[in-house]
Subunit: 660 residues, 2 copies
Amino acid sequence: MKNEWTQAWLAYEKREEKGNGAYFASVAVNGFDTENVVVQSALKELKKGIKGMLDAEPMMADKATFVMKKDFALNAEGYTLTETDGVLTLAAGGENGLLYGVFEVLRRIAMEKSLQGVSVNAAPDCPLRMLNHWDNMDNSIERGYSGESFFFEDNEVVVNDRTVDYARLAASVGINGVVINNVNVKQAASYLITDRYYAKVAEMAKVFADYGIKFFMSLNYASTIEIGGMNSADPLDPEVISWWEKKIAECYANIPNLGGFLVKADSEGRPGPFTYGRTQADGANMLADIIKPYGGIIIWRCFVYNCQQDWRDYKTDRARAGYDNFIEMDGDYHENVILQIKNGPMDFQIREPISPLLGGLKKTNQMLEVQVAQEYTGHQIDVCYLMPMFKEVLDFKTYCSEKNDCVKDIISGKTLGNTNTGIAAVINTGNDKNWTGNDLAAANFYGFGRLGFDTELSSEEIAEEWIRLTFGNDPQVIEKVMGILLPSRATYEKYTSPLGIGWMVTPHVHYGCSVDGYEYSRWGTYHRADHLGIGVDRSHNGTGYALQYHEPNASMYDSMETCPEELLLFFHHVPYTYVLKSGKTLIQHIYDTHFEGVEEVEKMIAAWESLKEKIAPEVYDNVSERFGRQLTNAREWRDQVNSYFYRKSGIPDEKGRQIW
Amino acid sequence: MKNEWTQAWLAYEKREEKGNGAYFASVAVNGFDTENVVVQSALKELKKGIKGMLDAEPMMADKATFVMKKDFALNAEGYTLTETDGVLTLAAGGENGLLYGVFEVLRRIAMEKSLQGVSVNAAPDCPLRMLNHWDNMDNSIERGYSGESFFFEDNEVVVNDRTVDYARLAASVGINGVVINNVNVKQAASYLITDRYYAKVAEMAKVFADYGIKFFMSLNYASTIEIGGMNSADPLDPEVISWWEKKIAECYANIPNLGGFLVKADSEGRPGPFTYGRTQADGANMLADIIKPYGGIIIWRCFVYNCQQDWRDYKTDRARAGYDNFIEMDGDYHENVILQIKNGPMDFQIREPISPLLGGLKKTNQMLEVQVAQEYTGHQIDVCYLMPMFKEVLDFKTYCSEKNDCVKDIISGKTLGNTNTGIAAVINTGNDKNWTGNDLAAANFYGFGRLGFDTELSSEEIAEEWIRLTFGNDPQVIEKVMGILLPSRATYEKYTSPLGIGWMVTPHVHYGCSVDGYEYSRWGTYHRADHLGIGVDRSHNGTGYALQYHEPNASMYDSMETCPEELLLFFHHVPYTYVLKSGKTLIQHIYDTHFEGVEEVEKMIAAWESLKEKIAPEVYDNVSERFGRQLTNAREWRDQVNSYFYRKSGIPDEKGRQIW
């Protein structure tokens, strides 16, 4: 366990006052129970922030310049912030709204924006805004690139000041739910729902409760067998049901702040209802019915596919699996079940189409799952600011209904009028001092939370907020770091796999290039490159995946001419000589983008180096060291991809650059 | 630690007498000290074998029908075996000769061959016949496929009845030296030459001494630093020399049967003299001079190459490295240093040319290193009888002198008239019940020893001996198992990488196909395939490796026309359309051999299955299970290699078979 950690974007360093100081001379709280734990957290945070940034001590007073009050007309997590005649008023529908409002006040101060005349009316777009941790109890983190777990150590649950700071960071960007353990629940983690761990788990849940965050755990679907000593996990077996009834009652008796459970079943070797000839709905509903009286929910992951595919099998298509496995039971899931759906049909590649399950399901609660942990996007070595990708997902028009048919509408509840919906991220934190490995990767943690709260924020707005909060308000720092973050996803895409084909990564590790690494494997992840072309035919002539979308998306993807080019190789097998809209052939596009990608990394590094005098040495060195590795990685990708396709196609680079 | 093990080819099961029984009614030993430990082992073995196979109890007598006697005219490890007028006489030059003679007697009885009129005059061809174990003290075996170590357990040295049986098996095939620990000496193994382990090590060495086997250890070249607490391992530093003088004196005081040390230096991350700007000879000679008064030798491995190569670098050639690193100091190595040279210039691939260092060195003691452990040849899952490969190596004509210029002459001492020469095998044993994982892999352990003793034995003779000793003398069993073993290396070669190019294996694991697995890596192991052809140009136009050989070999390899076709892609980059001597194009040869390889595995399996009633069930099942995996492996290789080259070349199979 490392014992040092930063405050990330909550460092509350000295700021220019900009006339804001006066509001915090006196503070009043009306209509809220000041003994409430969340209200107390809000007040504590306010004091800490004002002290740090403005060097002032807010005093409680009846007649105040900063008035916090309850407004029952507002959403329980919403708030308004207004300023009139020297009085700043934060009205909130509930404690979480109050806390989020305080964080907005502090954010504005940190950004050195005057509060005079401010008029904000805010409420979260997504009802559930969750972080999923893939932490294991042996300290490791599955797909973690920022050290080890700070939730677990040597099979014990750890609660300390870092837990509190983690909760503050999460709450500051609007997170209201956290799953603390890996979806692959094994070994000690199976026992989190037993007397062995209840006391510590409850202590941790209490820390989250203080910040308005519901506490969730990943569940071992086979708990009846693994910890119950039974022979079955059949969801229709009365003994299984009875065991869960007792177990969940026990959980709530011990952990009052429990929000529910996340379940990965029948996937990648995990047990599930399929084992007993039952449906996914049978499994999810059984648990949901039992947890319902406690107000709990069951979040059920849709990442179900055949991970034992034969690469010689051109008919089976992993991309189809989520839809094929879940679409038929649309409407069968009970009201407190949520299906959690990865943004793409494969697995968090740098470019994928949006999962057709999102909006394909029309009678089911849906939660979008994205990955902030950079499993396939650079391991927090390479800079890859993910908000542009997340925005594309949220803004994707599914045509599932006449209006409010974008992904953001589905997960906010607008489409179906439901409230058990939201967004979840596999998060990128670990016990590294700076939380996220690369300091710049904190922008993804920050941005995910902000975007879940307000899906209309732009990538630029979020980046600027994070930079100002983290590095201060020097215009040159803002400009240069914006210049690094904003194009970084496009850059990463350029030097890795082209036009949506994905994979081509070192197997298992998922960092670094291996063009054929997954080509002859069992994972359903193929590029099908030969000497004439590359890509997977997922049109009606191929696997038919394109037809899983509503029209006109289905037709758009189905045709090579109308398919968006960034996804061309995901949907079609395309000759190297095919001419893109740019006028370039496919092969020349591959060469050009790979040379460009490396050049862009070199420019990012130059931009970062120009800030050497303006960034704290520890942070500067941390990012510089990673940039060095990113450049090596980008060059390796460029050379391997270009050499691979040159050797295979025999078509030289028009510009005569070095290819091996 | 597993506690059960077989007797392998020393099971001494009941045999038909064939008139041999009478010789063993009375036994005499003349001229030998019957208290000598090796003589005692010989007598014990004789009793055990005669009891088991002929159900008789040899009695000691002055006038006997089996006379063992000393003959000072014979080689100390040689013997004669003659029968006249009902008296069998084994004359030996020394205790080891006596022991080997007894094993020959027992072998003949096991093979149900009459001893009447026998007339054998035997002496080992190779002075040193060694087994190298890559056992680690944490129980693991580097490149071990037969369970864990039976020498070490949890960082302790283990000596028990299995150690004795291991020594018997080794001695029975003429082994006279064993290195017990991995050449990569790390952690606890660095401390084998300290008080921490001396007592146990000496106990183990004593077991080997009983069977005429010298005891060796791999040495950590940086011992002065790692266990001596010094700052240097510079071989010319007087303090380093002084440390080693004390250390080696200490070793011999504790381990009288110590033969010397094996050293892997300056290789794959291991420390060595290069670190101090010294030569390999400086390092080896320093140790050799110190160990000389004790009669010890230093065996110095030549596996030195740059394992951080850039795949874009077409000039550096790993194949050149052994020669380039060692040839200049030919003659500088002291008399009790032996250079241990792998059979090929790369690393134990299924097909490589012979290392040009063998015979390239003209004034240096040389030891041939082969690998019986099937690292790249099927992991003791796939059957791969290696004697045909070893025979090719031994019979290779190096042209290093006018006569006696084959590899077998160099390592027997005939070429240079030296005695510190020999052959070593990285051996394939572990604590599996049957010692070698696949029961059939024991033929390689057996065969290696026999071939080191008598380099003129044929692969067929050795196979037949091993089968008769192991499975008995049923003609059908002999025929079918011969039919499996003898072509198995050619079969493995057919379904894996073609024509000497090597590699194409799953990185790190070295089992299973990955055509590009090592193509863009740092290991110097490339095939350079593009859409027109494949192979590495090592001619004078390329890396010049071919010119490291003596003429006429250099010219033969240098030209595509005269290069032996089984090595064509090792030496040349060849178009897929190039016509081989068979009249087939290169690409068609690749397709055909890969289809044939799988068909041959299917035939092997059918042959094995025909023996179901004649083989002990445990052995039958063991081999059958592995055959199942071999077939899967062979099919996967066939399909991946064929698909890879079809996709890359675009040239279809003439026979229209299924390629993906």
